[in-house]
């Protein structure tokens, strides 16, 4: 039972990472730096809350969440792909924009600076069993959520997309050798547009999961998860399978920290550092160096 509870908790923590990291892999493999995963998640969480609040349906919330992510991602693509603005500058600024805009519209929509009212989420099991009577029921009810399943499928999906479809071949070509891609007639801008939009949609699913699971939006609720996902992308060397392992690793470390909180073995701040430290070590190449897509961050005329 303890093991099961542990695994369920780790999975719930991992779901947003898996979504955002899947988006990060897609985006970065096309040569666009994915610094805005955090912002797309936050936008997704907020627009999912709006959708769920005004319609009363979690599904409508999900659709709105993805729409919000697509909107934020298209702004990103417009600036970096169409206008060839610096990807790092836009990436950082878009995160500030997401934080500021969600706070602004939180005040506008709900007249609150901290959180939204309660909105409906995916409570299938709770509805059947009358709200988790036993431990086992409440455990399972937290997994009876379409987004948990989708989250587990997100990295395999991106893996298939990248390695098993003509579109994925183009994405990789554009991310590694954009000049060569141009010479065989690939429209670099169009491929990058699609990759960024896909990344925005995936990351916003992660944000929607957070908001719908907690039944509300709270200010800056993504709390750096987008950057942990980015760390997982780099630590996983931009390969979906290894990125999934990295996400699982980070989620397990976090779960351990929460479960062992009472014992005071390791301060929580040190557990927080793990993803970032591992990423820096991987980048420095001490053990199994991370090698980024060759054209990452490079503009193509």
């Amino acid at each position: 039972m303890i093991v099961l509870a542990f695994l369920v908790q780790a999975l719930r923590i991992a779901v947003p990472y898996l979504f955002a990291a899947a988006g990060g892999v897609l985006c970065e493999r096309s040569g666009v730096i994915a610094l805005t995963l955090e912002g797309w998640m936050l936008t997704g969480a907020f627009s999912a809350t709006l959708g769920s609040y005004y319609s009363g349906s979690a599904w409508a919330g999900l659709v709105c969440g993805v729409a919000g992510g697509l909107l934020a991602a298209s702004l990103h693509a417009l600036a970096t792909v169409r206008y060839r603005a610096d990807q790092v500058v836009v990436g950082i600024a878009a995160n500030l924009l997401a934080v500021g805009a969600t706070r602004f519209f939180l005040r506008l929509a709900f007249d609150s600076s901290s959180n939204s009212p309660r909105v409906s989420g995916f409570d299938w099991f709770a509805a059947v069993s009358g709200g988790g009577t036993s431990d086992g029921a409440s455990l399972l009810s937290s997994l009876a959520n379409p987004l948990v399943l989708l989250g587990m499928l997100s990295l395999p999906f991106v893996s298939w997309l990248l390695n098993g479809t003509p579109f994925g071949l183009r994405v990789r070509a554009v991310g590694e050798r954009p000049d060569a891609a141009v010479s065989v007639g690939i429209h670099v801008g169009r491929v990058r547009w699609l990759a960024v939009l896909g990344a925005g949609a995936l990351a916003s699913l992660g944000g929607s999961y957070l908001a719908l699971e907690q039944h509300q939006f709270t200010d800056s609720m993504t709390a750096g998860r987008g950057f942990i996902a980015l760390a997982a992308v780099i630590f996983g060397n931009w390969e979906p399978r290894r990125v999934a392992v990295a996400c699982a690793l980070f989620a397990i470390a976090e779960t351990l920290q929460i479960q062992l909180q009472g014992l005071q073995l390791i301060p929580s701040q040190f557990v927080e550092m793990i993803p970032y430290l591992l990423t820096i070590i991987a980048l420095a190449g001490v053990v199994g160096r991370s090698v980024s897509p060759a054209a990452l961050g490079r503009q193509v005329d």
Partner: protein, 350 residues
């Protein structure tokens, strides 16, 4: 064409501000307010009275330091996203030094020692991405972003477990090294946080200008920023320039931390940096990576930041966060567009 070429460097930031103003209008209208009235409120609340001006000076001091930390990096072709962590570490180091000094240490001795501590603390954080880039080729953008989280988590831990005042998230008051308020000399500023640390920021800008444009190291720094390969074959040790630049940038950002710790509260508090490191990116971009430009841009963003508080009763203060982000994106979009328009124009930084 010649006029256009000369104006190009400031044309892009001006266009960006115009775009931000339009976005601001739209946001104000969603709240059913009049843009003109809100903008007037914003200006009146900041530049319209001595208290507001004092607050602007206070905020600009920190932003000028983080802005220079970003600008210096960009001059060398490095993206310093780590000003946030460098600023926090600088402030923390200043507080630790101020706590270690005995009570009653004369200010003439204590203030420079605390400033040196801040510079060293920031420099240590800045040096990490410099070393990792020079030695291992690790991309400084990712390293500085990740390092921000590490530094802030580390400082939170150390303050929470060793140094905090019970029930608070800040250290005890420093024993020595406090920097006086401007209100001491100009009573009109009474109540505002403006303090003499502003001179530190001005001195740092003077140093940056001298270093960049009057010394051999500065020449090498700019050469590396424009063409690292050419600089390398010209005999410049590129890795050493990267390390030196990031260390220096960290030191300047670290000095910015004294504005809060020595000049305002006399203690280090968790989260005092509050995004100043990221707004520093906006300051550097709008200031076109020039010390004078950075100082002017820091005033602009300080007005926005303080102005947000002034209009908060009418329109949420988060409006200015949105506008800051819009300015950054708009500059990022318009600068390359302008450069394509005016080919070979002066001011190509990247």
């Amino acid at each position: 064409m010649n006029v256009l070429r000369r104006l190009a460097p400031i044309l892009a930031p001006l266009l960006a501000l115009l775009i931000a103003a339009v976005v601001g209008d739209a946001l104000i209208l969603t709240f059913g307010q009049s843009p003109a009235a809100v903008y007037r409120l914003l200006v009146d609340g900041t530049l319209g009275n001595a208290y507001g001006i004092g607050q602007v000076i206070y905020k600009a001091t920190t932003l000028a330091c983080t802005g220079m930390a970003v600008a210096l990096g960009l001059r060398a072709g490095l993206f310093n996203i780590g000003a946030e962590g460098q600023l926090a570490m600088g402030g923390f180091a200043a507080a630790v030094v101020g706590l270690l000094l005995p009570v009653g240490t004369p200010a003439l001795l204590a203030v420079p020692v605390c400033l040196a501590g801040a510079a060293l603390g920031g420099a240590a954080v800045g040096a990490v991405p410099g070393v990792l880039k020079a030695r291992f080729g690790a991309h400084e953008v990712i390293v500085t972003i990740m390092l921000n989280f590490i530094v802030l988590a580390f400082l939170n831990w150390i303050v929470a477990t060793r140094l905090h005042v019970p029930e608070q998230l800040h250290t005890p008051d420093i024993h020595a090294g406090a920097i006086g308020r401007l209100a001491g000399a100009f009573p009109a500023f009474h109540g505002s946080a403006a303090n003499w640390t502003v001179l530190v920021a001005l001195a740092a800008a003077g140093f940056m200008a001298w270093d960049l444009f009057r010394t051999r190291q500065g020449y090498e720094l700019r050469a590396v920023g424009l063409q690292p390969a050419a600089a390398e074959s010209g005999g410049v040790h590129v890795g050493r320039v990267w390390l030196r630049t990031m260390t220096l940038a960290g030191a300047i950002a670290g000095l910015g931390g004294t504005n809060f710790v020595l000049g305002y509260k006399q203690y280090y508090e968790e989260g005092f940096a509050a995004g100043a490191g990221f707004i520093g990116i906006a300051v550097a971009l709008v200031g076109r990576n020039h010390p004078v430009g950075v100082l002017l841009a820091s005033l602009l963003f300080a007005v926005l930041s303080q102005g947000g508080l002034a209009v908060n009763a009418v329109v949420p203060k988060q409006m200015v966060d949105v506008l800051t982000a819009v300015v950054i994106i708009a500059v990022a979009v318009t600068v390359p567009e302008m450069q394509r328009l005016v080919r070979g124009a002066h001011g190509a930084n990247r």
